[in-house]
Symmetry: C2
Subunit: 457 residues, 2 copies
């Protein structure tokens, strides 16, 4: 059996693979801080060199920021494009780390062995699961079972400024049959999963303006309107008593989940009480009649993320402010069009302004939701491969947040992406003492080996 | 005619009186800045010395802050207690002054002669109108027509920390038949006025708390409640669609203005369009069915003075914040009890909190409204005296703000106060280029001379 030999090789390689990962983790490739620009170059070089040892045609590509890594290896049939990122988050506050963030090590914990260090889970450990799977395939068989390209970014933690231009300029080279993205986790740290729908987003920042200056509430209070009151009434009116958003046409392009997906989600046994309990809450507060997973995965939202106006310092100032402000975001699903949602929002605000008030809107930003087409047979093949590796069957899941790269593959290159990752909820990504379970690293590598085999069928 | 001789003397004295005021204005008695503490002492000494030259038994009284000035002069019949404050506002931004703020001068302007300098209107120029009236009476008649006491404070611009303790400790010395306060203005810069009702105030600062940490709106948006939404709904619900405040029992102790007062207010011909137009507004936004003057003088209000929560910096952070906050104040009228209003507010908030949310309240502060008893004959005598001096008849008016000293005279010493002042709306008090019209100073002095005569009847 060709696959079994590869899986055995992965098991034998585990110590060496771990050492390679520790080596990569020692490079402090923090992308947000210009002081670490040379380290980002070093991480890219390290990956190029390593990929060359497996037989990839690998190269570092300059951008206006940190470089990309591109690598190609020929193979029969299906062509996959694997994405990961080699840059990491800053490490502040340093004093909360139990060991230096860039002096990684294997640690024994009550829950098993972990690889501790910045980037171990997000995303160096995860991207190396794929690299190690390719290595094992090449070591056992001399070549890969399908055509594989690899695309590593170095700016994911700093807003990916070079990503879309690079994808546009290198569209032919980056296009494959399906994209693979390893930057997510096991569902509830236990169930292997392929994320097939991600919510989109529209952001709005706006100001409500009344008088042309701040007023004294003794001189004008009761006579002049108050922008904070106007803003509060606007926000209060964005949802009805069932939690639905009141903008005109907001739900026009919102689909219901299919019965197949609904049934998979039901089988996940999502512990919403635990999920809410972790943050001190107990009651799902979303739309009436929706399950908790629908609320976070398949229903659109409208949330005020920030609000400010008037006097907010110590003590008291009895001011009627001239302006009040809010930042607000919509999470989008299905075919909701960011431009249409923005227009509906602007229309909502303007239609409800009292006399003498005006609204100003900062430029709105938006990305549509990503809905993968699971009719592509690669999805079901990969799901089966994951189910073979893990104790529990793999599931298609949603994601309440946005993973911009998945949307870019879709909009720039018209490729579906399979988001498959092995992180755990307690990995502390972006936080002190980040870790990656050795089991995630090991079984993640084995999972990719199985998926490569499955896609070769 | 005894009064006419006094008025003539005031006219003859005008240049000398102006020079005295300029002298006092040269002392930079800024009470908020410890660097000027010695200047506050100097201003108090200057006043004590000047009052002694008129025959007052005057003395400086130490407090834990800046000193008080107390002065007494015997006379027949009615006993009045005159209040003013010798401290002034800071002068920042200095670069916006057309001349040094403590190098005052007479200036010719299109609207007539003005005295330019910090404190010219607030309150040194105003308090000296009363001193100069007393001086003229003494110069002409050798004595005052009634018993006069004077009480000058040096901490009015810094929250009057010593005022109430001083009043309590010196209650007997400070008690008279009626208090006179010269720290207000002509109504719309034209109509001499006695302020007979001032709104009280209750301040509230409170926080709405949801989850025990900030949440990512991708992971929790749609499932977890948002404290900014809860806060906005609370604020939106504080007023009904007619602009009335919805707290239980809020209007229980709110009286209607009497027909006599209503008729005086109607005669004022308040230019609410101009008043609103000055600040870029056009439409009275208060309670349906109330006149603009009722809205600011005789109706209670509820205004949010500040609001904040979530991410308010540059760019975007899709956070569901753990908390949201607001500062809010009620203006009170009639017999509204600050404690009762606070309790009704706390009850309102707590009764409307959704599951999983809590509210925290900072200590509330409150003072009741002040309503002067115009049955005291001094009011009508003073109003007639003012009407004799000025081109337009004097009126009883309200004040939407609080003037704490008026409340203290009432609550600590059980005295009514007549608030009579000669400032104009364009005096720029608290701002660069503060001025006091020479006409205000001159006719203000003559007004007090007339009031002293009237109260002697």
């Amino acid at each position: 059996m060709t696959l079994n030999a590869v899986l055995d090789k992965i098991d034998q390689n585990l110590d060496a693979a771990t050492d390679r990962l520790l080596d990569l983790l020692r490079i402090p490739s923090i992308s947000t801080d210009p002081a670490f620009a040379a380290d980002c170059q070093r991480a890219a070089d390290w990956l190029v060199d390593d990929l060359k040892t497996i037989g990839f045609n690998a190269s570092k590509r300059d951008t206006t920021g940190h470089p990309m890594v591109m690598a190609h290896a020929d193979g029969p049939g299906t062509h996959v494009m694997f994405y990961g990122h080699y840059d990491v988050q800053p490490v502040d506050p340093l004093e909360l780390w139990d060991r230096p963030p860039f002096d990684p090590a294997l640690e024994k914990t009550a829950a098993g062995m972990v690889i501790r260090g910045r980037g171990s889970s997000d995303d160096k450990g995860q991207l190396m699961t794929f690299v190690e799977a390719c290595r094992a395939w090449v070591q056992v068989h001399g070549s890969l079972p399908i055509k594989v390209s690899i695309f590593f970014e170095g700016e994911e933690e700093s807003g990916s400024p070079s990503l879309v231009p690079f994808m546009q300029q290198n569209a032919a080279e980056l296009t494959a049959d399906v994209a693979l993205i390893c930057d997510t986790g096991l569902f509830q740290s236990a169930v292997p999963a392929i994320t097939t729908q991600l919510r989109g987003m529209v952001t709005e920042e706006f100001s409500i303006k009344g008088a042309d200056r701040d007023l004294h509430s003794g001189m004008y209070g009761g006579l002049a309107g108050n922008p904070i009151h106007v803003l509060s009434r606007l926000i209060a009116g964005l949802h009805d008593e069932t939690g639905r958003i009141t903008l005109d046409g907001f739900y026009d392009d919102v689909p219901e989940v299919t019965d197949e997906i609904r049934s998979q989600w039901q089988n996940l046994g999502f512990d919403h009480a635990g999920y809410l309990g972790d943050v001190g809450l107990s009651v799902p507060a979303g739309e009436t009649g929706r399950t908790p997973l629908e609320m976070i995965w398949s229903r659109p939202t409208c949330e005020v993320n920030g609000i400010w106006g008037g006097y907010t310092g110590d003590g008291f100032k009895t001011v009627l402010p001239a302006e009040a402000h809010a930042k607000l975001s919509f999470r989008l699903v299905g075919q909701q069009d960011p431009k249409k949602i923005h227009a509906a929002f602007v229309n909502y605000v303007n239609s409800k302004l009292p006399a003498d008030f005006s609204a100003e809107f900062a430029p709105s930003h938006g990305d549509p939701a990503s809905q993968m087409s699971i009719e592509n047979p690669a999805f079901e093949l990969a799901r089966q491969a994951l189910s073979d590796e893990w104790p529990r069957p793999a599931s298609y899941i949603g994601c309440g947040g946005s993973i911009p790269i998945a949307g870019h593959f879709k909009t720039v290159l018209e490729m579906d992406a399979m988001l498959i990752g092995f992180g755990r909820d307690d990995d502390a990504i972006h936080s002190p003492n980040e870790k990656y379970d050795l089991e995630s690293f090991h079984k993640g590598t084995r999972s990719w080996a199985r998926i490569l085999a499955a896609l070769a069928k």
